[in-house]
């Protein structure tokens, strides 16, 4: 059996795998799989691991996602209230930074494993790693220092601070967030993550101009990865377009894989990045809620054709909404396997 790890290894060595590897980011759907509420699901790493394993088995994609929800990072830094929904990701209900003093007092746990929520996450990743037995890459997820403040103080105040606020305060916050990001990457790897998905939407071209990216965000991307190194890191768009910043990222960070936004052009990304970097192209997964199987087939086909021409390509989703019907997830997978094959004659 050819595994997700085989496919990824083939891509990384410059070879062509049997088909395009598929990353399908299902999170909250695991609770449905386990027949528990989202709150109960995310309370235990073993439940999340089992949910992830079942969903990978059920749909046949190539990776295992070692993540709970974005707000967990805020919890590790002191957020005391997470608000659960029945049908979507938990929200942050308590912003820990409301005054400059809160930034000055923000402190990090020396060891993330001291925090019970991280221990659950690490336990989940450990189970995924063990059960995968080298077959399916386990993805750990870390929010970049330039994006993390949005979860600690709200995006409006963060924009205000980094655009027109006190530079000293901004840098102090970024310094703390960067140390956290760096520690988290190390801890996720220790827990068993094979690849790190580095999420940085606030640095994307959807949020800031290229000039501001170069001035304010790029130095912190470099800094976040100094300790851990860029190997095995995937730069994830997080919902923003990244083609306009790819050239700078490639030149200055050493990151070797880029996960595009559905609105980023795949062939343009390849031209910018050159032949070496891996590219993940993402489907607009909100549309999977109500596209017909035929429409899904067409859309996946377009992405796969562009990706196969570009080479070094993975097919992916963003974070799949809970409402996507199961048959549409299957339709996407069927289409991805069909259109992603490099050897259609043997199918």
């Amino acid at each position: 059996m050819i595994t997700g790890m085989d496919r990824l290894a083939a891509l990384m060595s410059g070879a062509t795998p049997d088909r395009v590897p598929i990353i399908c980011n299902l999170l909250d759907q695991g609770a449905r799989e386990m027949k528990v509420s989202l709150k109960e699901y995310y309370s235990r790493g073993d439940l999340v691991a089992e949910g992830q394993l079942r969903m990978r088995e059920k749909y046949g994609y190539d990776t295992l996602l070692g993540m709970f929800y974005s707000g967990l990072e805020a919890e590790l830094l002191g957020c005391s209230r997470i608000i659960y929904a029945d049908d979507g990701p938990p929200n942050i209900g308590h912003l820990i930074i409301n005054t400059p003093e809160h930034i000055r007092k923000l402190s990090l746990p020396d060891d993330l494993n001291d925090h019970p929520r991280f221990r659950e996450l690490a336990s989940c990743i450990g189970i995924l790693k063990r059960e995968s037995a080298g077959r399916w890459p386990v993805l750990g997820v870390a929010t970049a220092s330039f994006t993390l403040p949005a979860m600690l103080m709200g995006i409006g105040p963060w924009l205000e601070l980094f655009l027109n606020g006190d530079p000293g305060l901004r840098d102090r916050l970024l310094e703390t967030c960067s140390r956290f990001c760096s520690r988290q990457i190390s801890a996720l790897r220790e827990a068993g993550a094979d690849l790190i998905v580095y999420i940085n939407p606030v640095a994307s071209a959807t949020f800031i101009t290229l000039a501001k990216f170069r001035e304010l965000a790029l130095p912190w991307v470099i800094r976040d990865l100094v300790q851990s190194g860029p190997t095995g890191v995937i730069f994830f768009n997080g919902g923003g377009r990244i083609n306009p910043i790819l050239a700078d990222l490639r030149e200055h960070t050493g990151i070797g894989a880029y996960y595009l936004n559905p609105f980023d052009d795949i062939s343009e990304a390849r031209t910018i990045l050159g032949p070496q970097a891996l590219i993940a192209g993402a489907i607009n997964d909100i549309r999977l809620i109500d596209w017909s199987p035929e429409e899904i087939d067409v859309e996946v086909g377009k992405i796969m054709n562009a990706g196969k021409q570009a080479g070094g390509f993975l097919f992916g989703t963003l974070l799949m909404p809970f409402r996507i019907p199961e048959q549409n997830i299957r339709a996407m997978m069927d289409a991805a396997i069909k259109h992603g094959s490099y050897h259609p004659e043997v199918m």
Binding site: I83, G88, P89, G154, L159, N164, A205, T206, I208, I286
Partner: protein, 225 residues
Amino acid sequence: MTDRIKEQALDDYLKALFDTDKAAALRIVQQALDNGMSPESVIFEVVVPGMERMIGGMLSDNLVTLSQHFLASQIAEEVTDRLIPLFAVAPEVQGNVVIGTCHGDFHGLGKKIVIGCLRARMFRVTDLGINVAPERFVEAALSNHAKVIGISSMMVHTATGELGPKRVRQLLREQGLEEKVRIIVGGAPYRFHDSLYKEVGADAWADTAAEAPAVVARLMAEVLP
């Protein structure tokens, strides 16, 4: 005050917005006033066109970023609030709007940008905040004599959930208000899915905050006096 000076003020203002330089933008506003431009002229010939050209993406072919949207709207709101009391004649209010982020949703940025655009266009806006219950939208619309309810969502499940715009629509129907109050929605899920607004029971959506005043004005024109 010559047209050339006004054009120069607008050009300089646009450049400051493009660079997301709030201090420069406010300085240009003050210079325009110091040079003898009336408060009305500063608002309607510099600040509002600057905001709309920036947010509407007409400034360049390049992607206009959220930080530019945010700043253009924020400055427009601040300057409008400061200068309206200085108008020779009180401006005509375009109508009342209540706006908030959907139940279960704690993201306030999009709503904030839209509010700035609406206020600069002389709408009276009541901000209901984030995580707003559907009943609250309807109560606030009635108590504020608002013809339009704006509902922002950042997440698919809050946009499409049973306590989101769908429930607001149901409440309007139950209370016989559908011909008196319209619903406009906005936020990330609608940008990824441009017919989603119909599914959630809204009358319209706006792709950018700059479009919101025109869409709201159209909705207001549709409803019963």
